[in-house]
């Protein structure tokens, strides 16, 4: 996977995830929308054959965009770890 920042301004950003698809795109979009600092977030797969989703995010006025993306991914990672722990416990029972 290769990450590229296509556009970056004070409170908006466009990130391309080369090598990913809806699996991560939709999950990141949804988790971004749950963030209180986010005004708008979306993702687009410009062509179904090229696996390059573009994630767009915009924060509310006056709030910096830099940390929101990282914070979102950490939330996803935390959720995945929680799932793995709970699932292993449930299966062993």
């Amino acid at each position: 996977m290769v990450l590229r920042i296509i556009k970056k301004e004070k409170n908006e950003m466009k990130i391309e995830l080369d090598g990913e698809d809806h699996t991560l795109g939709n999950l990141i979009q949804h988790t971004l929308l749950m963030d209180k600092d986010i005004e708008f977030a979306g993702y687009d797969l410009p062509h179904p054959l090229s696996r390059k989703p573009i994630i767009y995010l915009r924060t509310k006025k006056g709030l910096k965009v830099e940390n929101v993306f990282k914070r979102t991914l950490e939330k996803v990672s935390k959720q995945a770890n929680e799932f793995l722990a709970n699932f292993s416990k449930a299966v062993e029972k």
Partner: protein, 270 residues
């Protein structure tokens, strides 16, 4: 987040996952189908094929045979150090097959593939490959490697990876006249009659088909059907390559690895 296992037998697994969003459940479902690596035959050296079927057809059928997979010993060819086109002992497994029909007709089965490593062998031994007439012979060497479902369906570790929302079925007993039509028409036997009134006995089986409401003589119907958007009933059916519970664990680990790589790369380019 809460996970409860409903059923676990052989290759199939049913569990309830609650307290997560649909995109998260969907990411797990999609990764199980397309990104958990499995073994499948990818290269075949044909030494003798006097059967009625073309080499290409036999090769294609061999590719679709599910193989038991050991993810701890083998590496994906793109992650292997050998960088060889043909692969090495860490990224490929070879099989031999030599069957000859003598006087009678003989069926070649997947179980006739003899693996070099018994950990990687056909998950089902009775898959017919080709039928040989007398004196016909099939002799070949096959090479299996790890791959992902998004490259070719033969590397898909599951025959089913699905989820549905948790159904909620309610009956307003005050308005219900107890005609019993909902019991009769429900294809999933969600309702049963108790003391002349229908009761919900099998809520989890409901497929939200609404057949009960369509046949209910009372308008508006006292039956109310909805679903819980944060609870999912997963159904995973493995092809036999790995136990279904292992597939789910591998899928979450892949998701975790993906997010970590995005975080790392983001730190670098920022």
């Amino acid at each position: 987040m809460k996970i409860t296992i409903l059923e676990q037998n052989g290759n199939s697994l049913r569990f309830v996952l609650s307290g997560v969003s649909a995109p998260f459940a969907n990411a797990i479902r999609r990764i199980i189908m397309a990104e958990v690596p499995t073994m499948a035959i990818d290269d075949v050296m044909m030494f003798e094929n006097t059967s009625a079927m073309f080499d290409e057809m036999i090769t294609h059928r061999l590719g679709l045979v599910p193989l038991t997979t050991d993810l701890d010993t083998y590496l994906l060819p793109e992650e292997c150090d050998c960088e060889s086109e043909f692969g090495c002992n860490n990224c490929r497994v070879s099989f031999t097959l030599d069957v000859k029909a003598e006087a009678e007709l003989k069926m070649v089965y997947s179980g006739d593939l003899i693996p070099e490593n018994a950990d990687v062998s056909p998950a089902v031994k009775k898959i017919p490959i080709v039928r040989l007439a007398n004196n016909q012979r099939l002799k070949l060497e096959a090479y299996a490697r790890l791959g992902k479902g998004l490259e070719h369906a033969k590397w898909q570790p599951v025959s089913a990876s699905t989820y549905k929302f948790m159904p909620i079925v309610e009956i307003d007993t005050k308005k219900c006249d107890g005609c019993g039509d909902c019991v009769k028409y429900c294809p999933k036997n969600v309702f049963s009659i108790e003391k002349l009134k229908p009761v919900v006995q099998n809520e989890i089986n409901c497929t939200l088909c609404m057949e009960c409401i369509r046949h209910c003589p009372i308008e508006p119907s006292p039956i109310k059907i909805s679903h819980d958007k944060k609870t999912f009933i997963f159904y995973i059916e493995s092809t036999g390559s790995m136990p279904a519970s292992k597939l789910v664990k591998e899928a979450v680990k892949i998701l975790e690895r993906k997010t970590q790589s995005v975080i790392e790369q983001y730190k670098k380019v920022k």
